[in-house]
Amino acid sequence: MSAPKEESEAPNKRNRSRREQQPGAAERPSASVNLDELRELITLLRDNGLAELELENEGFRVRLRRESEVAESSHAPVSPSAPAPEKPAAPAPAASGPAHPGTQATTAAAQDQDLHIIPSPIVGTFYRSASPTAEPFVKIGSNVEDDSVVCIIEAMKLMNEIQAETSGEVVKIYVENGQPVEYGQPLFGIQR
């Protein structure tokens, strides 16, 4: 594949350098594909729950993207209120989908097949306790009954007390204090 004689769009540095990379591996041995490195990158992607990873090194660029099997894992795990600790996905939604409040927790909950998951019944902000100074309603190890209040979800300035609606022991908490949650988002994992 040879570079076109004239650019149909305005000269674009990025496009040009990409075309210059087109020549096959044999002409640039230093940038050849290393299968072991690729495997490592794939493991990195998977183990850290990343949706997309892009690596550029000495004129060689790799972009790995994980296809979603279920809706949850296709979205970038970016909390809308706090910046994510790493920035795994390109901003273009076409690649990674919109930022959903529920992603990481949903993925984590999906692995807890034997637990009863308490989902959020509304959209709002999740709080562990009745007030900033109060003790959390439940902790890991707390026992709950049907009418035990497990958390508060604030929506439109109203504090909604969420009940367990089951009995058992709290073994997982999927969301953090102050985190926005959407309808259906897993909040707690209960061992019944």
Partner: protein
């Protein structure tokens, strides 16, 4: 249209309210439509969706999204606390309500205002006024628009109804005051039918709109349904963008629309347009809106109702005027002046829209399911507004509209040929769609001659061997 855009950089300095982020309180094709323009304007978008809509296209292409409830609309797309809560979490500047759902909820508009979120639409009091069809008739009549003879208020008894109907003269039509979208309506041709019609219309209205109030109007035979698109800013400036012909309806649901109408002369367009604009100015209208009229055989026009939102069929106006109605709604909501005068309006060529529903094209039974084969038409003068794709699962929970195919060409004849071509190569397999129905309409001699009225579907279905009545 050659809109001379005065709203360039000059006005940006005076505009403190530029939106950074808009939440779209809707789904399906209109949610996508709003997202497309937001992208062009550099505005971030937030999609809300029910749990069954998780894979819907509007969710895919919004910048941020949140699940707001289960499938039933009352718990999701009509769930005001969930939508406002989402808007607050994502810190949006404005909400675009689309059409249907909360688009004409004055209550929702008020809540947005109370929560300091700009509702992209007219003021709540205007929405409320136009939402009450009886009051709207009265207000628009006072504002100078001719109305169909009818009852000045709700009909409360059969005796009253009989008396009014005798004064007006049969045939009459019973309509829901809180209604719209063609529901809660009954045509009555003789006294003996009136009692039952009042009852069933009222029951239907109570179920659909939580208000069983009905009123009576003279029923105009074979009228044309002509609607005028208006656009007003928040400073009192208002223009119209011409008309749309929407006479092809089944059970008062529009199947296809076109612009311009084959029967409107430039003089009549000017008259109707100016009347609609004058009325909107008096109301203090702002944002996009549509005044619906009935046109009788003698060329008399009567105000029917006003829709205080963007409409499904807005694309045909956009094609012939080169306007972007969503963009204008956003600009106006941001506090920008309209920037156009009526003289800037140019209507070029002819546009037709076909609404493609996930329905059996002969029985109109809903046909949900997974789309397997899929191809959208493209090429010159073709626009498709849709939210479905190959592999998408059409659910039974919502409206059956899955795509709008719009064509634009120099003449009506060329537009019809273009629509035929577009429908021929449009492939949606795995579910039934009304594509074949529209293809047949394109071939119908009355349609091709432009001889259409609200009786068209009844004639067409009968002609094609269907016994199902088009209305009622």
């Amino acid at each position: 249209m050659h809109f001379v855009l005065f709203c360039g950089t000059n006005f940006m300095a005076f505009n403190p309210r530029k939106f950074k982020k808009i939440l779209i309180a809707n789904r399906g094709e209109i949610a996508c439509r709003v997202i497309w323009t937001c992208k062009e304007m550099g505005i971030k978008t937030v999609a809300v969706h029910s749990d069954v809509d998780r894979d819907s296209l509007h969710v895919r292409f919004a910048d941020e999204a949140a699940c707001i409830g289960p499938a039933p609309s009352a718990q999701s797309y009509l769930n005001i606390p969930a939508i406002i809560s989402t808007a607050e979490i994502f810190n949006v500047d404005a909400i675009h309500p689309g059409y249907g759902f909360l688009a004409e909820s004055a209550y929702f508009a008020e809540i947005c205002e109370a929560c300091n979120i700009k509702f992209i639409g007219p003021p709540a009091n205007v929405i409320r006024l136009m939402g009450d069809k009886i009051e709207a008739r009265r207000a628009m009549h006072e504002a100078g628009l001719p109305i169909v003879p009818g009852s000045p208020s709700g009909v409360t008894s059969e005796e009253e109804g009989l008396r009014l109907a005798r004064d007006i003269g049969y045939p009459i039509i019973v309509k829901a005051s809180a209604g719209g979208g063609g529901r809660g309506m009954r045509i009555v041709r003789s006294e003996s039918e009136l009692g039952k019609a009042l009852e069933t219309a009222s029951t239907e209205a109570a179920a659909a709109f939580h208000d069983g109030t009905v009123y009576i109007e003279k029923y105009i035979e074979q009228p044309r349904h002509i609607e005028i698109q208006v656009m007003a800013d928040e400073f009192g400036e208002c223009i119209h963008l011409g008309e749309r012909e929407c006479s092809i309806q089944r059970r008062h649901q529009k199947l296809m629309e076109e612009a311009p109408s084959t029967v409107l002369t430039p003089e009549l367009r000017k008259t109707m347009g100016e009347a609609a604009v004058a009325a909107c100015r008096k109301l203090g209208y702002s944002s996009a809106g549509t005044c619906e009229f009935l046109l009788d055989a003698q060329g008399n026009y009567y105000f029917m109702e006003m829709n205080t939102r963007i409409q499904v069929e807005h694309p045909v106006t956009e094609m012939v005027t080169l306007a972007d109605i969503v963009r204008n709604q956003i600009r106006i909501a941001e506090g920008e002046p309209l920037g156009y005068t009526q003289d800037d309006l140019l209507i070029v060529g002819h546009a037709i829209e076909c609404r493609i529903n996930a329905e059996n094209p002969e029985t109109f039974a809903p046909s949900p399911g997974t789309i397997t084969g899929f191809n959208l038409p493209g090429g010159p003068g073709v626009r498709v507004d849709t939210f479905v794709y190959s592999g998408y699962q059409v659910t039974p929970f919502y409206d059956s509209l899955i795509a709008k195919v719009i064509v634009h060409a120099r003449t009506r004849e060329l537009a019809i040929a273009r629509m035929k071509r577009a429908l021929e190569v449009m492939v949606i397999e795995g579910i039934k769609t009304t594509i074949p129905l529209h293809q047949k309409i394109m071939d119908d001699p009355r349609f091709r001659a432009g001889d259409i009225g609200t009786d068209f579907m009844e004639y067409f279905l009968a002609r094609n061997g269907k016994k199902v009545a088009a209305s009622q």
